[in-house]
Symmetry: C3
Subunit: 676 residues, 3 copies
């Protein structure tokens, strides 16, 4: 277990006492103790506090706060505060501000609004982090350093353009290599000087009008994708600067950043971090599998599967949604516990005390504007604190024993969403979630991994719309199947290489032989159209299933056909195939099937491969497992609107009540944790 | 009565003879007399006519037109023409052009496209107004001066930024005060130099994409609001410049501007004006209560309730709507008369003669492209002119005897629409109209007032979504209730102070004790969701009503509960309360109810407080009253598609037919006016 | 016949071998021969190939390709390649890049992204065209020169502004004339110096928000229209530069450009071209009349009706649509043959080999990524090639014998779509297509012409929404009717002159006497509203038809009334009239009728005037005719989803099977061509 600097589950949240007076600070600490809070994230927006003007540092306020927290036994997640730049800095160095895709240098406002490549900015964050680390190097209750804050946006300024060229030069070596890799001869855009290369930024009314606002239809998807990689790299380098500055004074400091899964490659962003953190804000009617997927993803971002932190949840309504309902009774707790169930080791919220003004004054907080704790949410938070204390460090450091892996990759997202894809508006992660859902609903633990991850430990690997594939990745997958693995993939997989050049000779390029098929064409259906999968194999509960959206026209070369299209001019042509390859099997889904089909197909292979379900529960109860060599922890959460009874299949010890139970009775939103 | 410079009701419209030849001018005057037109607005777009180049004035054309109008006994509303700047001026001083929120200095086009703070612009409008006033100071048929024209838009240029800083400095005195008032410590944006403050202008793709185009989600709602106040102030100052320039030569001149209710605080804009004017353009199927509300608002913009002018209506279809239906028979007349009924003392149209080209060539005009008057609309305008003549100055100067006040304020609009409100897309005025409608439909005269207005004269005060409240305003309302008033307010009232800082200690801050409740949380519902109000008090016609959108979770502290929620986890919790406070009552509506509930609730208090209905009419007939010490005038307008019979409750003299009637028979669109 | 440089139908497509290696080039040629391809378009994106840097030319690659094609008997359509500018050029002369309507100088990307008036650009395209022509002047297999490529977009830079002013000066002579023609006195925008005139470009958030994004609501529609004419002229001049440069070395060269019908006046753009080319990309469920209309339009762009070329079709799915279905069996062939049927003399596709990367990697191509020809589309293309060979030059040079003309004009489009039209969102060409459809469905051949075309050859002329009309055009139409023509027009016809100034005295200005009516007002209906046409004349199959959207309120002055409105306040007023005028008839449709009414009305006049249908077929079979003095060719295409039987009315020789047939049996997508 890597998360070593604290005991028990971190419970608390972002804390901004600089917005308040001394009296409120003391009241806050009183309430923290009432709630059982043991940790706060400080300093996320405080650069302007400890450096109120150029060259001047002022740690009085911060020292006082930290001292008081220490006295009260509260841990600190110490933010570097570099996401919110002080106004004096932006006024002096206006070039620090990011430039929009339309070419506008934005005025200061919001956060993470800087050019990540600006020299002065880099210099300043290094400086401030060194000063901070030096000042607080002996502060024992600082258990973790929190770099920057929720990243967002890209910059398209001249400074970025220059750094982009350097970055490309380093990666490609020569323009010849770049021109070849990018196929710039398409539409006659061969580069003959590095200076000719620009960020993909323009104000193109024609594109907006012809193709509908909001669709990023770059003429050169490779360039758009590379720029997103470059932006990822740019922000990652800033992480590295901050980390090095901290380690200079605190060699054993742990660093994190809170992810939100926007337009970066988070596998890359995770590299300089010791611990991944996640900000989870599900909406009222979100199916629970959605949060579960991203929690599973968090667990896998640091090469090996490992615990992570929940850095932000909302203790009540969010404020950014179109409609912001309050959280239902137990909803907040169930979100927190379901995160713990999938590998989280904290329950942190945004924020401790609700701001009086600004963008988030209507966003829930642990201490609301009323200042009272005898409220609905106050009571729930208090109970949550009490339960977290009971959990102690029981399951901390345990692993999630997944036998199924889902392959997901930000590069596929970009390939599908940025380019001139045959079905505009396709959202890659929505597609992946569609396939993930069945496993979640069956209480089958899954890891979310990359195509070049070690797959050998998994009984099944599912790769929906695995758009891009390198030769190395293809080899990895083929080795997995050859050695007995069960691999399931779909339409629009293995289409291009890392620079979005199509693998020639029939799709899916490098996987044709493994799958025993090749794809001649892919039909896309309109909204009101559908097709049928007619089953021609045993082991399916229905004879016919609905499908649509994408319909590959296949040629079978060795695979066994399980299903054929039931309509259109390709009626009777195969759409579901299985191919024996080495000791394993490779299954191809050529069309987007209904959920019933996915259930039938996945059931079949779950049975064949012996994948284990955590527990059989009624719909609406999520079961999850964490374990180490000696112990197992079963988590149950009732997401339904009715009371649910779950048979545990034996007497298990409830770690909250410390009683042995063979049946769990859960009211809506309720949860239970058992030690096995 | 302040409107002293003319006799009878002004009838006519915007007149642009400079677009036409001499022959047409004579023909126009012939038609004006045929229609009974007695006033025209001249010069709205004529700056380029009387100042065709720098330093050169040329009044020949204008003098000739004015002379001819004078000869024909037609009054003139004299515009300063400063909304449409001459091209030579913009070419010479390109900085006069406004800069867009994205940072683009716009090219000349349209009107009110200038920076209101530009020095050269200010100098020029002063100069031209002095020249105009000096030239026409003895022109007797000029009865009113019309400053600028329909204001629109904001400017975000560097000049505005500088003036904004000065304005803030003056209002806040110190940065400390400003930082505190704006809570700039939120997200770490403390200002340490006035120069760091900018207009809230940026090109933020992320915000557009994440939150949906068109939603102004400023990170700092206080700043966005303050900028709107500053823009209001900027335009108001330009009014003051123009007014002073006119008064220099014509000390008894009256000045006006035609309001359209866009993004300014019209209470402020009204201050330099002697008379408020309104441009009213209802759409075909608009419910009549909508226009009535804004007419009631116009009446109250000059501290005390006072008459105003209709400066523009359309004599037929508008041209700016998505679909532009022609006006139905009598529709134009009924709009004009319903305005008179609520305090207007003119019936002016845009425009006298329809332009041959340009943005408004498809906009209705009193003289259409055919040039004929034997047309459907020609006949109606002629009849309207005849009727206006019969009305004479009978009811001019009378007041509208309202016993109910609706509180409405542009600051609430901004608080709700600009900030990160929990229900995006909420339109403040739509919400207010929802509550106003019942009073309108019951023929109960209402004033629209501000929270710091003198409320003592009203039997009931209704304040829907009274978002912001200063201590002074709260005191005013409490004094009203203490002295026996009946005050009804709703969810999202009294939330913040003038700088949009939440009043702490439970909502609605300063009004908790008066209302006998406090609000712990506010749930917002999705489109397809609703809740129920279950009545637990006497005096309601139904046991249960529908409600939704906003659902406050209340804590009762002294109030009596009239209704409880019927669904969701807060079933059984109170949602309608009444609290005795001093000699009066304060009623709280915690959720958006259906119209039936509002009818029942308002009926109850109308009965209790003895509020009088003008007349009981069938649905679709609007009744309104104007009165002075000695006389009352009853206005009836049939908005329905069927003939309506209205019993007058006694013999009344119809001032158009000059006959005594006890029953009014009104065909669709028809109207009648009685003297009581 | 003008298309003289080749034998038979050109079959092939855009070819970009520079994206590939030598081996692929040879493979391509092998496949071309397999498919029967006889022509390729080279060089569309190759400027960067033959001029890799300033001053350096490099024809080695191109010479090699051309030589190989020549050896294999393949014709070349030689593009000038000037749509895709080399990066070195744009880096050196950044001002070549176009400036957006919001004022942003775009970064290089895509194609046709230049300022068409830039001096350096003009110099460069002249230079490169001269160099190309000189180098290839003796290359015999170059049968046609292809200038630039699909035009798109407008530029709004200062250079364009200057050229715009010059162009206006030349056309208007004096500012007085321009001010009068543009009615600039509207809103006070009189110009007193040419320098004051600007392109209609601005970033106006207010307009976007008030009126809905995407609607181009210029305040001065005349200016917006003139700017579109100027842009047309700018691009046309670039065509002239390229043409002159080619003719300098190849005096008998033929030049073309491939049209797509965007925001230019294509009648003007066609003038410098010897041959019009068309890029046709119908969507899956498009009704076939839509493509047919634009094909008919292509035929008429060069003053007299004349053959044209299909320069681009897609051999399979497009990639730019929201959803990109594959082409159904025979769909590609039927599109190609229906083009031939209406005057095309080529079947060219985009593109020969599908690119590996870039914007169009998912766009269909003749050689797909698989590289195989034993595919569904491969087989169809091979069959198409074989059939095209059988057709040979049989019908080349023949004409399409249309007896009906539809009047359509880009200026009407702009008048209706750019200005503040009473029904926003009206799409001019959709309206015209609505009227065109019946003729298409009845297999009646139609020409698409302008209002000043020679109409004497037509038995009927239909002019839907003929918005603008000059006196000369009005005279032309009146002369046509006087001499016995049958002319049918609708609401919103003859409204304005060429500068969008309304013709006064009642609509439709110059045509009132001919039509025997005048229009007093035009009502526009909301989406959910409709009216009725009640027939009061003989010869209609129904007593009542539905109508809506636009409803003119007419005054009849001599015309005979055929139909009256059935609803609303204008119930009983006329809406369909016929007027005898000279020897002919002029029919007015005052409201948008349903299709049934149009069928009845058009049938009536088709019968009266003796217009001939090509053949009576069941719905879904398109019949078309080409003929010359001696021969006729009947084309039949089955667009339906079922097999269709067509009786030919006698024995005709099928030029593909070379058999005589009296009945055609056509499977879906199938076609047949008969010589009569």
């Amino acid at each position: 277990m890597a998360l070593t600097k604290w005991n028990g589950i971190l419970y608390g949240g972002d804390y901004c006492p600089e917005q308040w007076d001394e009296e409120t600070l003391h009241e806050d600490i009183r309430i923290m103790k009432e709630y059982g809070i043991n940790a706060v994230t400080l300093n996320v927006h405080s650069w302007c506090v400890y450096q109120p003007e150029e060259g001047a540092y002022s740690f009085g306020v911060m020292d006082h706060i930290i001292h008081l927290l220490e006295e009260n036994g509260i841990n600190i997640v110490m933010a570097t505060g570099t996401a919110a730049l002080p106004n004096w800095l932006l006024k002096k160095y206006p070039d620090i501000m990011a430039q929009s895709i339309r070419g506008v240098r934005n005025r200061p406002a919001r956060r993470v609004n800087y050019c990540p490549n600006n020299k002065e900015f880099k210099h300043r964050i290094q400086e401030i982090c060194e000063v901070l680390a030096k000042h607080y190097k002996d502060q024992k209750n600082i258990v973790l350093w929190h770099l920057s804050n929720e990243l967002e946006g890209h910059c398209y300024c001249d400074c970025c353009a220059n750094e982009y060229r350097k970055w490309l030069k380093e990666r490609y070596g020569s323009l010849e290599a770049l021109n070849k890799a990018w196929n710039t001869m398409f539409w006659g855009h061969v580069y003959t000087d590095w200076e000719q290369i620009n960020p993909p930024a323009y104000d193109n009314m024609v594109m907006e009008n012809v193709n509908g606002a909001g669709i990023d239809l770059s003429a050169f998807p490779t360039e758009s994708m590379e720029y997103k990689r470059f932006m990822t790299e740019s922000f990652k380098k800033d992480f590295e600067i901050e980390k090095a500055a901290i380690l200079k004074y605190i060699p054993d400091a742990l660093v994190t950043n809170n992810f939100q899964f926007r337009e970066y490659d988070y596998d890359e962003l995770a590299k300089p971090l010791d611990i991944v953190s996640f900000d989870l804000y599900p909406e009222k009617n979100d199916s629970p599998h959605k949060a579960a997927f991203f929690l599973d993803m968090c667990r896998g971002l640091k090469k090996k599967q490992s615990p992570f932190l929940m850095m932000e949840m909302s203790p009540n309504q969010a404020s950014w949604a179109m409609s912001c309902p309050v959280k239902r009774p137990n909803e907040v707790s169930s979100i927190a516990v379901s995160s713990l169930a999938r590998g989280a080791e904290s329950a942190m919220f945004f924020q401790i005390r609700r701001s009086r003004a600004g963008f988030e004054k209507f966003h829930g907080a642990m201490i609301e504007h009323s200042g009272r704790t005898d409220t609905r949410q106050g009571k729930e938070l208090k109970k949550l604190g009490s339960n977290l204390k009971k959990m102690g460090d029981s399951f901390l450091g345990t692993e999630v024993p997944a036998e199924v892996a889902i392959i997901a990759d930000w590069n596929y997202k970009w390939g599908i969403e940025v380019t001139s894809f045959p079905k505009k508006g396709t959202k890659y992660f929505d597609e992946v979630l569609y396939y993930y859902k069945w496993f979640h609903d069956q209480n089958i633990m899954t890891d979310v991994v990359r195509a070049d991850s070690d797959l050998s430990k998994y009984k099944m690997v599912v790769a929906p719309m695995m758009y891009m594939l390198t030769e190395k990745q293809a080899d990895n997958i083929k080795a997995y199947v050859k050695n007995g693995g069960c691999f399931i993939t779909t339409y629009f997989s293995g289409i291009t290489d890392y620079q979005d050049n199509v693998w020639l000779g029939g799709y899916p390029g490098l996987l044709k032989d493994m799958l025993g098929i090749w794809v001649e064409e892919t039909d896309t259906l309109y909204e009101n159209e559908s097709n049928l999968i007619q089953i021609c194999a045993d082991g399916f509960s229905q004879k016919e299933y609905t499908c649509g959206v994408f319909c590959d026209l296949l040629r079978v070369e060795g695979a066994t056909v399980f299903g054929k299209y039931g309509k259109d001019f390709y009626q009777g042509q195969p759409c579901i195939t299985e191919n024996r390859y080495g000791k394993g099997k490779a299954i191809y889904i050529a069309t987007k099937p209904d959920e019933a089909f996915l259930g039938a197909l996945f059931s079949k292979y779950v049975q064949e491969t012996g994948v284990i379900k955590v527990l059989k529960t009624s719909a609406g109860v999520q079961a999850a497992l964490r374990k180490n060599e000696t112990e197992q922890y079963l988590f149950l959460i009732n997401y339904s609107a009715e009371q649910q009874k779950v048979e545990l299949g034996g007497k298990l010890r409830n770690i909250l009540s410390n009683e042995e139970e063979s049946i769990a009775m859960l009211i809506p939103g309720d949860y239970a944790i058992y030690r096995l």
